[in-house]
Symmetry: C2
Subunit: 191 residues, 2 copies
DNA sequence: CAACGTAGTTATCGGCTGATAACCTGTCAA
DNA sequence: TTGACAGGTTATCAGCCGATAACTACGTTG
């Protein structure tokens, strides 16, 4: 019954992945370390051993998500360095749900004195990255993030994305008024 | 030691107010019914008695917040029925923090099967209200809500609003690039 | 004043949850 | 082979939390 042994670093990465999934669904306070452990196939105390506290696990997860979003922006900008291309990359991230939604849970927990500084730093870094990559001025960048936050909230509410509910009138008015074929991916068939 | 007895309806309203404050800080899962009870000066079991479950209390709180936001929009539109005026009303709400932030916590909990339908209905109703009041077309309304969601997230992270942290460069770039004297109210002096 | 409905309390509990401690086990070097 | 370190586990717990049950007190009405 001996499971394959991994290095601490491999296990660390795997646990971040499990935490990403778990925290996406339940948020910080609504997720237990045992849920994360089961997803990763390890015992709950081992999760605590590797990360110290649940809070540190959450912070590591948010930072990981932010970093991966940044990577996706950079990859997109290598193809074409404008806001439209980064917007398309964001639509892809939205369809995958996890990275974006876990960030929203981080933002919502931003009043916590330990989590607040982390999520503010992540947001600021993403803002700087977008401006650096695209050369957007403050107003353009602001519009970009505004639209991003709207889509993020709609994704968290399952108005768009993988597990989207049956669309009502206002949803199509809100979402359908612009080109988002990727973001609606989950509403139709398998990707 | 006999406290002033209130009617069930008065106590109900008072508890919603306490829940608004409590859930704003901790979100749904991160807030206890005892915290709400203490804020209102009643015992924890009585909170459960009046609302059935914690979940129903949260739902009632979110619906109350949504309704009050709608009222503020309607009041603003009576003065001048355009998006700029409603935007100014939203800035006031942001400065007060509670109504807006508790809505964000509701959105973040939108994956919950019991909470999701409620917050989607609230969002849809606010969307319809804004369009009805201002006559905005879908694209204009979308831009309005996009900016609103950005400000909402920034408020939850304490980038703007009453308890805002010391501003960094990216924050002033993001926020300062447009006319928001009211939203920065808390960063300067007493209101 | 009796009595009854409504407002509210204290007592209590089962279950969960994060965290600690102690122990076990695979693997590699000498 | 043996030791020793790194990767894990089982056992356990103290505290919290939502919820239930049973009881108490206020005040109004006839």
């Amino acid at each position: 019954m001996t499971r394959t042994r991994l290095t601490a670093e491999e296990r660390h990465d795997q646990l971040i992945g499990a935490a990403l999934t778990a925290f996406t669904t339940g948020g910080y306070a609504g997720t237990t370390t045992d849920q994360v452990a089961r997803l990763a196939g390890v015992s709950q105390p081992y999760v605590i051993r590797l990360f110290g506290t649940k809070q540190q696990l959450f912070i590591a997860t948010v930072e990981h998500a932010s970093h991966r979003i940044e990577q996706r922006f950079r990859a997109a900008a290598e193809v074409q360095a404008d806001l439209a291309t980064l917007g398309a990359a964001y639509d892809d991230l939205l369809a995958e749900r996890e990275l974006i939604t876990v960030m929203l849970h981080g933002f919502a927990a931003g009043a916590d004195p330990a989590i607040g500084p982390v999520v503010r730093a992540c947001f600021g870094r993403l803002y700087e990255t977008v401006r650096e990559l695209t050369g957007a001025d403050p107003q353009e960048a602001r519009d970009f993030f505004a639209e991003g936050m709207l889509l993020t909230v709609l994704g968290a509410m399952n108005v768009i994305g993988r597990d989207a509910v049956a669309p009502e009138r206002w949803m199509t008015d809100l979402v359908g008024s612009l080109d988002l074929p990727e973001a609606m991916r989950g509403a139709e068939g398998p990707g």
